[in-house]
Structure formats: C-alpha cells, structure tokens
C-alpha cells in the first residue's frame, strides 16, 4: 500500500478546484444523475481520492462505535451502513442539527480496485477505506532514454 503522509494542504488544494467544478456541475442540470448518486447533504459526507497505488474513500462519521459499522464491497460498489442514535438528554433541546438514525452510503468505485487488498481505519471520526489498485491499472512511468 502507498505510504501515508499527513498534509492537509495537499488534500484540500486538489479539492478546491474540484469544488468549483462540482459547484458549476450541480448548478446546471444536464442529463439524469447516476442511479447511485446520493442526495446532496446526505450523511455521512464522502470523499474519494485516487493515487498511483490506491483508491481511498473517506466517510465523515463522528461519534460512532466502529464495531457497529457495516462496510462491504460488492461489484465495485462500497457500501457503508450504520446507525447513530440521537443525542441523549432529559432537559430542554435548543438545537438539534446533528444527524441521527440509520444511514447508508453506496459509493461506486473505479473498476481497478483490488478487493483482496483493502484496509479500513476509523480515526478522529473519519472512516477511511483504502483499496490497492490492480497491477495492470497502476500508472507506470515510461522512461525517456
């Protein structure tokens, strides 16, 4: 698997350009969305990134017990389901903005993910599921002699 570094700047720079593209994409409607497209604002939020060696899916799921998460891969669709109970409290409720209840997200992955080479990690409320890319699909640098 690829080596991992923590560089928040590197993460968010490519996403900034993508954000602009996606914002304009969603503003204009052209053609039907993929049947697996999520509703905007679905919980949890999902990010997908591709690097030469891996495909990484990030799901933003704070305050969960990772044992209770169901993560499965079938036919290049990664499905993550679970449930988050509502915040407990006896007194008066002023704000209830956080999502509670059952959730499920299905994410279409590129064909070249290798299901045999996968790893899932839950840290700081982020579930990261990583897949190696099949050998043939890996970017191969061609040397210019």
């Amino acid at each position: 698997m690829a080596s991992v570094t923590s560089r928040s700047g590197a993460w968010f720079d490519p996403f900034e350009q993508l954000r602009r593209e996606m914002d304009s994409l969603f503003e204009s409607s052209f053609g039907p969305a993929s049947i697996r497209s999520p509703a905007r604002g679905a919980f949890p939020a999902v990010n997908v990134g591709i690097s030469p060696e891996s495909v990484d899916v990030y799901l933003f799921l704070p305050g969960l017990d990772p044992e209770k998460l169901d993560v499965s891969l079938e036919d290049h669709v990664l499905t993550v389901s679970g449930e988050r109970p509502p915040t407990e409290g006896d007194g008066r409720v002023y704000l209830r903005e956080r999502f509670s209840g059952a959730f499920t997200r299905a994410i279409n992955l590129p064909d070249e993910v290798d299901p045999e080479n996968s790893r899932a990690e839950y840290r700081n409320g982020v579930l990261r599921v990583s897949f190696g890319r099949r050998q043939e699909a890996r970017v191969r640098r061609i040397e210019v002699k």
Partner: protein, 125 residues
C-alpha cells in the same frame, strides 16, 4: 444554498472558507450540554475560548492522504470549523468541560451555583 459555510480572513490576509459544525444543544438543571460534529479534528487542532461571553469553537480538520492523491469526488471540502455562541450570564464560562473523541466534541457549560434552580421550602406555621 449552503448556509453552513462562512469565510474568514487569516493572519496572512487570505480568505479561508470555514464550516459551521452541526450541533445539538440541550439544557438541564446543571447547565448546557453541546455536541458538535467535527470529523477529522484531533485535540491538538481544537481551540475553545470564551471572550466577552462569546464561546468560540475553532478547529482544523486533517486527513491522512497518500502521496500524489488526486480528488475524484469530494463532499467535504472545508477544513476549518468555526462556530460561536453567546453565553448568557447564568452560565459559568470558567468551568467549561470539553471532551473530544472520534471527532465528536462534547462541551458542558455549568450554571453558576447561585443560578441553579433551588426548591424553596415553605414552612407552614
């Protein structure tokens, strides 16, 4: 229209997008309990302060990403969380209890002792 995103100007004079984390706020007889979703935040990146009765929660989210990763799809794009609340006088801002676990921040803001509800017993003569 997305109303949870703001922007702020940093020390370098750059305008940064910020995200207001969703919160649950409840009150019981002891005080206020606040839960805030802040995925990607570790305690060293979290800043909680109170100034002039304004509670400010600020944090930077960080993610481990492999070298040369390119974004393919991103619903979460704003790495800085900021949210402010004004605290009413009966809350004791000096005694805020904060815990951060798995990206979930729980703040307990107790009421001043004298502000807690007290039963006044009635003596009958």
């Amino acid at each position: 229209m997305n109303t949870t995103r703001d922007s702020q100007v940093t020390a370098n004079n750059e305008r940064v997008q910020t995200l207001r984390p969703p919160v649950d706020v409840m009150e019981d007889e002891h005080g206020i309990v606040l839960h805030a979703d802040m995925p990607g935040v570790a305690s060293e990146d979290l800043n909680i302060s109170v100034e002039d009765k304004v509670l400010r929660i600020e944090a930077d989210a960080r993610l481990d990403t492999p070298d040369e990763m390119k974004a393919v799809y991103a619903e979460f794009r704003t790495p800085r969380y900021v949210r402010e609340f004004s605290l009413s006088g009966e809350l004791d801002a000096q005694k805020i209890d904060a815990t951060l676990r798995n990206g979930l921040l729980v703040l307990k803001i107790p009421k001043h002792e004298h502000a807690k509800p007290r039963k006044i017993s009635v003596n009958v003569r």
